[in-house]
């Protein structure tokens, strides 16, 4: 060991079980937020940061698809395919699912575990219903003879709804995880519900956006 190295150790009393970011310690040099007393629960939750970064990456992915889509639809041979009524039903179902998740979060923050469970269960069920509804829409289109290679619009329709469906499936997985977590340890519910809600509202808004650009003329 090198004789000149000096490791200054923090008094054990200030080091919380979560490492260097124990709440309530005084500091002048770290980030401006998240260091005040009691402020660490939201800002220091790495899952939140991770989910936001993932949302950014998925946004870029769909921005790239949008870019390709908008340049294609400017061409003379562009024709919008049929707008199936079930897509409207799916849209309403997905928006209701987001509202149910907010209901769950509101009750969770008031430490009403039963209310949180109810909202979360409803959100999960509605999210799953949306996925099933999308599959129904695909089958209806296929039954009408519209496949991926049928027209430029159908190619983008299947591509965008398919990629959205995959990302939404991940969100449903997150909802099921949150459901399991709320069931097991209701106290930790908020920590899981927050990041899950960020992602779930994102895939919801993403659907509204895709629905709009696919059928807006």
């Amino acid at each position: 060991m090198n004789g000149t190295t000096k490791t200054l150790e923090r008094p054990p009393a200030t080091a919380g079980p979560r490492g260097p970011r124990a709440p309530g310690r005084e500091t002048t040099f770290d980030r401006s937020s998240g260091d005040g007393p009691g402020a660490n629960t939201a800002a220091a939750n790495p899952a939140r940061v991770g989910v936001w970064l993932f949302v950014i990456a998925v946004t870029i992915l769909f921005a790239a698809f949008t870019n390709a889509y908008l340049s294609r639809r400017a061409a003379a041979d562009w024709q919008v395919g049929p707008l199936l009524p079930i897509l409207w039903v799916n849209t309403v179902v997905l928006v209701l699912s987001s509202l149910a998740l907010e209901y769950a979060r509101a009750h969770g923050s008031r430490e009403d575990a039963a209310g949180a469970r109810l909202g979360l269960g409803a959100a999960t069920a509605l999210g799953t219903a949306f996925l099933i509804g999308q599959v129904v829409a695909w089958r209806a289109l296929a039954a009408a003879g519209i496949f991926m290679a049928s027209s430029p619009h159908s190619a983008y329709f299947y591509l965008l709804t398919g990629m959205h469906g995959l990302h939404l499936t991940g969100g449903v997985g997150g909802l099921f995880y949150a459901l399991w977590k709320v069931h097991r340890e209701p106290a930790a519910a908020q920590v899981v519900l927050g990041p899950t809600a960020i992602y779930w509202h994102f895939v919801d808004v993403l659907w509204l956006y895709l629905f709009f650009i696919l059928f807006w003329q």
Binding site: D30, A57, V58
Partner: protein, 598 residues
């Protein structure tokens, strides 16, 4: 303390598989990334030797190579489509499977938690998943050599329609599909990695380690992770769309009216330029994904071995950010010959040449750091100095190629090959070597052999200039990139000696790397034991044991009191003051604290 006990406790119960194979420890994952990248570098290097065999002596019969690659040779001669497969796979492997994985995956994983004073990454499980998507991606990629038609022929850029139509070339069959799937897997791995790096650096820095006190290695890895997060999804989108064009009959990229073998294809209305735009929107940030981490690592290595603070720390950070921002605005300079409007070309030229400014800021700051310093010529330092040389040499030709009037003449010639092999490939690999020599003691707790390291450096440095510098002249004389034989055209016949010389230099360069491999593996098991801080460096990782234990820091996390470059302070006893030394004991370097408020 709960955390420590948990870690110490957990260590006892980790099986061999959990500890070394499916490990969630960032250090093991980093070393896994580095070792796998090295195996891929050997693979990519062998492919490079095959390319040079063909270009040096086209038409020659190669008994041994024909025996080793029976599908690629006919009557002892290399087949043209096999040559193109080799070129494609060499580029793909070196860019994505060696340099990106070694620098971001390897050094990123190993260094980030150690240099910011945390116990591990924010999401260790995701980190493990990131590594374990990499070997499957390799298997899928290399399987392309074994399927009917062989590996893809379309180059690492996979331009449409060659990459979209099965009928286009032998490698455009299943081989191209596997290439796309492999890349998709690797992109997901990179996404997991960059999510982790950004979150870790934002959330888990040691007490006192403000962003303004971070070592430049961390700054560069941080900005690189942001680049990857913002650029790879675009390639992912393009890969998905190209897969649908190939497998589902869509026409995202394939235009109407393509006739192959007398058959009119059914695709209509796609745009092949769309692929180029999407590819290069990733492709250009990608070259900065390869060069920013070496820039950061080299900054730290230069300061350490020159025993001087890095010159212009804030400008270095600013230059990293400026390069990253500009890298998103320059993709069009890869497409000057695609029929682009001259005004658009001029706009891309302006942004491209603007990158020279932050690049020059970095170069002059490196030189100013070295100015009147007492340099310790350790192998890591030699490779860091070599990096600066190669970056400047390659960067200068970038100024030529960034201008449309010159680029339209030089496009797709060996001048371009020479340019990017200096600025991106060689410079980045010098960053990998410098980093390996520098951090090897921390990784394995042993020292590498310095004499072998110096021999390795000089052979590599001379070998690289001998290999790639003459390529400029071949390019100016019009020798095309990816050409199967320079003897096919009358105007290239005079280049036979030059090509033979380049090939011999390349073989010598390849053989010199064996010295590195021997040194690496011998030192890993037989090298002299390393102390904590063999280079007398200031950054946090040198305050941990060599190698650091699981959890890195024992019972207590380090606390930071100064920036990362307190070398040769006038009032200090030693010529370096670690970041953990309180300012009460040794005052910090005035005015250069990076705004840390210490």
């Amino acid at each position: 303390m709960a955390v420590t006990h948990e870690h110490a406790h957990a260590e006892h119960h980790l099986s061999f598989v959990q500890k070394y194979i499916f490990s969630q420890d960032h250090k093991i994952i980093g070393i896994q990334y580095l070792m796998t990248s090295m195996a891929m570098a050997v693979t990519g290097g062998i492919l490079a030797m095959l390319i040079r065999m063909q270009l040096g002596w086209p038409g020659t019969k190669w008994g041994l190579a024909a025996f080793l690659f029976p599908g690629g040779f006919q009557g002892g001669q290399m087949k043209p489509d096999f040559y193109l497969s080799v070129v494609t796979m060499h580029g793909t492997i070196m860019v994505f499977f060696v340099l990106t994985t070694a620098l971001s995956g390897g050094f990123g994983n190993f260094l980030i938690p150690l240099q910011i004073g945390s116990r591990d990454m924010a999401f260790p499980w995701l980190n493990m998943m990131s590594y374990w998507l990499y070997p499957p991606a390799i298997v899928v990629l290399l399987a392309a050599f074994l399927v009917s038609g062989g590996a893809p022929n379309s180059g690492w850029t996979a331009y449409v329609p060659l990459s979209a139509l099965k009928e286009a070339s032998p490698g455009s069959g299943l081989g191209q599909t596997l290439w796309l799937i492999s890349l998709a897997l690797l992109i997901v791995a990179f996404l997991f990695g960059s999510l982790n790096y950004i979150t870790t650096i934002l959330n888990m820095r040691a007490r006192g380690l403000s962003m303004g006190r971070l070592p430049l290695t961390i700054w560069s890895l941080f900005v690189t992770a942001i680049l990857m997060l913002l650029s790879f999804p675009v390639l992912f989108a393009a890969v998905i769309m190209l897969l649908f064009d190939r497998l589902a009959g869509t026409s995202f990229f394939v235009p109407s009216g393509i006739v192959i073998g007398g058959q009119l294809l059914s695709h209509t209305g796609g745009n092949p330029l769309l692929w180029q735009h999407m590819f290069w929107f990733l492709g250009h940030p990608e070259v900065y994904v390869l060069i920013l981490p070496p820039m950061g690592m080299v900054s730290d290595i230069l300061a350490t071995h020159a025993r001087k603070p890095i010159f212009g720390y804030r400008f270095m950070v600013g230059a990293i950010c400026a390069i990253a921002l500009l890298s998103f605005l320059v993709w069009g300079h890869h497409m000057y010959t695609s029929g682009m409007h001259p005004l658009v070309g001029m706009a891309f030229m302006t942004t491209t040449l603007a990158i020279a400014v932050p690049s020059a800021v970095k170069t002059f700051n490196w030189l100013a750091t070295l100015w009147r310093s007492r340099i310790r010529f350790a192998p890591a330092m030699l490779f860091a100095l070599g990096f600066v040389s190669l970056f400047v040499t390659g960067g200068l030709t970038g100024i030529f190629l960034g201008s449309p009037p010159i680029d339209i003449y030089m496009q797709d010639t060996f001048f371009v090959v020479a340019h990017f092999h200096f600025v991106m490939a060689s410079a980045a690999i010098f960053g990998v070597f410098a980093g390996t020599y520098h951090w090897f003691p921390k990784m394995f707790g042993r020292m590498m052999n310095e004499r072998l390291g110096r021999i390795h450096f000089w052979l590599t440095f001379i070998g690289i200039y001998a290999t790639f510098f003459p390529m400029h002249f071949a390019g100016i004389q019009g020798m095309m990139r990816r050409i199967y034989s320079p003897q096919l055209y009358a105007h290239l016949k005079g280049l036979a000696e030059l090509n033979a010389f380049v090939s011999l230099a390349a073989f010598a360069l390849g053989l010199a790397q064996l010295i590195f491999l021997v040194n690496l593996f011998w030192s890993m098991f037989r090298g002299p034991r390393a102390e904590r801080n063999p280079w007398e460096a200031t950054t946090l990782e040198w305050q941990a044991d060599s190698p650091p234990p699981h959890g890195n820091w024992g019972a207590h996390l380090p606390e930071v009191h100064r920036w990362a470059y307190d070398y040769s302070l006038p009032d200090a006893k030693d010529d370096y003051v670690p970041q953990t030394v309180p300012t009460a004991q040794v005052p910090a370097h005035r005015g250069t604290d990076g705004g840390g408020g210490g």
